[in-house]
Symmetry: C2
Subunit: 613 residues, 2 copies
């Protein structure tokens, strides 16, 4: 295609795509046709105007351009594009939103051309940022990343986190397209069709902007071409569009968001569209053959900690990252401006080219990690455990992208002490436990932390590692193994009366209780439940058979943490179970004072045991 022929073919393709959008949503009886129609010309021009480069016969090509629909509700358009490319049949399109179809209501990775699941708004730009970061700094490939954005979703703060970081990292391979149709779900957006409002704001964040008519194919093509010439500056195409474009009774009408046409309306719409060439297929340009530089895995280093010197598990996390990187050259480390607290700075100092400072913007950090995962990297990302709550929506969404991301949250629990509750991670275990098939780890000493970071790198999936602020004694040797789903029975006799299950900081309280009680002739079993999810059901069941009660102790709120994980391990619990956890408003103080105050100290454990016996 070249010259004047191109827009004409694009026009015909756009018509076909509009037809697909209408037919698939009407067949489904729900969906978002109008939000799809507004972006149809923008996307048709991109994919079939010779601009987007993607080898349809080699979908895994590392140098394929990337397309993310941040406005995931425009999925009918997304699927229609691949249908127009010949990769989805019309029959398949008509399964959209039906049980078992890969064409879900909002894109998930069940659909092979979806890079990542979207549909919770304001996340796609961060994902694109991760992919663009990979192209520019890691794989050094010339692929481009395109993100289709809705105007309504620009209200999400996460967008501005991504905008600032993309400019900071000079990502000229990242191109955003805002489909400014002026209408949100329930009415006009904050800025309606005032395109200058977007231009002003986005320019001020250091992006190049192109304001265009989003239904003029020539103008659209020219804007993309100008965008491709940008150097060191990301580009945002801000397009004025009409919601429902192409169907007169939908155009710019409120009340049509997330609503399919009924059969009668559908027939009327088709009459308006006019003749459709269902045999037409769009051509997508091919990428060049670039491949990323390979990295050969080397042997990881040795774990070395003097047995008599306490070390914080957060420091061991940093040490482990640095130690194992040679074996896992796909690793990339991100941190939200607290690398000197999470100790990811240890890695940064050794491998600065594999570390990205994400500043205090946790949502974007998680989205970026997802983008890096999409390009085959193994992201390890860290901040205070408490501050991962900031990105719960991004964490939640990443499970629908089958993400492989390792989260490390430091400063867990009241044992951080003087800084007070705002800095205490007390709901992180609950949060990460809710993620389907997630792994949640909580080591107590530096050695087990190192081992678990190795496990994390090997594991494919969403994994959370909780670390502790203060130094803790070394209790394990480097020959001990810590499989995911395991536990360690640290104290055991044939005569144990009660089992105490702890992890992290409270493990030492449990060991202290064991010591004191032993001197009184009372023996307890002590289990280090370093794997909170999956949980070691066999060992817990054995303890339930051997002893007359279980006590769980955790530096976390009572809900959703270690205690409930243990309870959920049993469908039939033959003995009583008691859960010690953070149950009163935490405050500033010394770690020991706070463990006492919350009833999760050695003394609290002993007291509870004596109550039971």
């Amino acid at each position: 295609m070249a010259g004047k022929e191109k827009p004409r073919t694009l026009e015909r393709l756009a018509k076909l795509i509009r037809y697909y959008i209408l037919s698939s949503t009407t067949e489904a009886g729900s969906g978002h046709p109008t939000s799809s129609l507004s972006a149809t010309d923008l996307m048709t021009a991109l994919l079939f105007g010779g601009l987007f480069r993607f080898d349809l016969e080699h979908q895994q090509h590392p140098n394929n351009d990337r397309l993310i629909f941040s406005k995931g509700h425009a999925s009918p358009l997304f699927y229609a594009l691949w249908a127009a490319a010949g990769k989805v049949t019309e029959e398949e399109l008509l399964t959209m939103r039906k049980f078992g179809s890969t064409l879900e209501g909002h894109p998930t990775v069940a659909f092979t051309y979806a890079e990542a699941a979207t549909g919770s708004l304001g996340q796609g730009l961060s994902i694109g940022l991760g992919m663009a970061l990979n192209a520019k700094y890691l794989d050094k490939l010339p692929y481009r990343v395109f993100v289709l954005l809705g105007d309504s979703e620009m209200a999400e703060g996460s967008q501005w986190e991504a905008l600032q970081l993309a400019a900071h990292y000079k990502l000229d391979n990242l191109i955003g397209i805002i489909d400014v149709n002026g209408l949100g779900q329930r009415g006009e957006t904050m800025y309606g069709h005032d395109l200058s409002a977007y231009k002003k704001r986005i320019s001020s964040f250091g992006w190049k902007t192109e304001v265009i008519d989003g239904h003029n194919l020539d103008e659209i093509l020219r804007a993309y071409k100008r965008a491709f010439r940008s150097r060191d500056v990301p580009v945002m195409i801000i397009a004025k569009t009409v919601k429902g474009k192409g169907v007169s009774f939908l155009e710019n009408k409120n009340g049509w968001h997330g609503k399919a046409l009924n059969r009668e309306e559908y027939e009327q719409a088709l009459r308006e569209l006019g003749e459709i060439d269902k045999t037409l297929r769009g051509e997508i340009a091919k990428p060049d053959g670039s491949e990323p530089d390979g990295h050969t895995p080397l042997k990881r280093g040795e774990i070395v900690y003097p047995a008599d010197k306490p070390v914080a598990t957060r420091r061991a996390y940093g040490n482990a990252l640095k130690r194992i990187y040679p074996e896992f050259p796909g690793m990339v480390v991100l941190d939200a401006e607290v690398s000197n607290s999470t100790f990811s700075e240890i890695f940064q100092k050794e491998y600065p080219e594999r570390f990205f400072e994400m500043y205090i913007a946790e949502q974007n950090m998680v989205g970026t990690a997802l983008g890096l995962h999409c390009r085959g990297k193994i992201p390890f990302i860290s901040t205070f455990a408490a501050f991962f709550t900031r990105a719960f929506d991004q964490i939640r969404m990443s499970q629908y992208s089958k993400a492989n991301i390792k989260f490390s949250g430091s400063h867990a629990g009241v044992s951080i002490g003087e800084d007070g509750p705002s800095q205490m991670g007390l709901e992180d275990l609950a949060m990460f436990r809710t993620i389907l098939n997630s792994v949640v780890l909580y080591p107590c000493d530096a050695v087990s932390t190192e081992k678990l970071v190795e496990e994390a790198a090997l594991h494919k999936g969403i994994l959370y590692l909780r670390t502790t602020r203060k130094d803790t004694p070394i209790i394990y040797s480097k020959d001990d193994e810590f499989p995911i789903g395991g536990s360690k029975v640290l104290r055991k006799t044939g005569n144990d009366s009660i089992t105490v299950v702890a992890a992290g900081i409270t493990l030492y309280e449990a060991l202290g209780a064991w010591e004191d009680l032993k001197n009184q002739g009372i023996f307890i079993r002590v289990i280090d439940l370093y794997s909170i999810k999956p949980v070691d059901e066999a060992t817990l069941r054995q303890a339930a058979r051997d002893t007359k009660a279980i006590i769980t102790v955790e530096d976390h709120f009572a809900e959703g943490g270690l205690g409930e994980a243990v309870r959920s391990a049993f469908d039939n619990l033959p003995i009583p179970i008691h859960s010690l956890a953070v149950r009163i408003m935490p405050k500033s103080g010394k770690p020991e004072e706070l463990l006492e105050y919350e009833g999760i100290s050695k003394n609290a454990i002993i007291k509870k045991i004596k109550e039971i016996l």
Copy 2:
């Protein structure tokens, strides 16, 4: 104070305040003196320069100006200001960060002059926005709201959510002050001392900006005065400052974040400060006597639902808001651009002046709600259940402000159907359960929803109400009562074999199972656990005594939800418990198909019961 005398007194006060900052942090052995010193002149001028209006003898005065330290780690400065005002003694200052002191590491409402707890960054501006919204639109009072911001925290997207909304609502009574000291926790911020970067961005968001030298008292005073003259436009004072200002070996030095001086360094710092007048006290101007308009509570309306017409609980939520408002004139309703889905639009249409559109910016919505709470309002805020995860950090922080906020999350669980997993709230119960003393409610029909919205309005604290997308049958009458912490035993005989505990959508599946089994001569007990937290332990214990197993059924992930709430109700569970929940990757489909697929349908309940029997 007037004329030249003012800056001179302010200088002496600033010196006293610097002394307090250094002495309290050195005594504590931790804290953030350098982040306090950079903002000292900005805050001294504000409080004691005749600008800030606050009646020290009447702290509850509705027209007092409001001051929020969004950069909560500058708490030593915050406490020192009130010490300089004569409201905190030097002795009290020296208890800072100690167990039992109201002067915590980061401000919480334990300290009487803290409007709200801060310390998780990027939240103060939203809180201020809520207070300013109240002054301008609800209480119609002339008080001003001042928010001290750090430069690092401007990276948080939530700041930009607040900035856009404040401009949208023309909040000329909101004044932000950015302390641009150029240094974050681990090094330089994204923009360092490039003040124009902030000015450009913030201006583009529709704010007036004032760029000043943050250590020049005259310049500071003039900037505030100019800010006071702004009409319909919020103002940001962007101040160039020096971290550690006033102590040569701290000034602009990296590595001093969150670190107190040791005794020796402290003595040296004091020598640099020179003579300090410990008897000096700053004067704070008084507000005028304005009082808010009173609203007299009237009688609420009646609940009316035809017994034979199914109604979605989300719609009942909207109906209830409208119905009860006359009795609770402190109510304010916020929604994140989905009021036609959550049905808060029913309230909006009746009481538009008590409704604020928050657009798709959930973090700021929660912060704003906290600000409204601080000014005595009862905020009811709604979005999709899934999207409250976006604001988990703000929700978490609001507990440390002892907030009274009602959250309503619609579109819970896989039963939303075709829209797919991105829109399904499957972790909301777990999230809200982690909040200390929270209430978590999950009604199944319109009548119980109406009753629980009444309970919500009466209850003081953080309360979450989960609603369902699809219509559900009316099973209760308006004379039924639904106390928080209660449950309803819907099916009970003297001969029940097994107890099924359900809530919301799964309650109907349980009732269906009861019907089918009854026809087979099998009787089960069915409990509507509409109060997930607190949970009705007595009724559950009775069921455990009467029947031989408990089955929990929930449209939520297995972790942290109804199932674990029931398990945690027992320290000693004499019978087996089985939890049916969402355990495999959800997808698009019809609600019934998805309930079946996830094993939380009537059939799944019957199957499990037959396995047990």
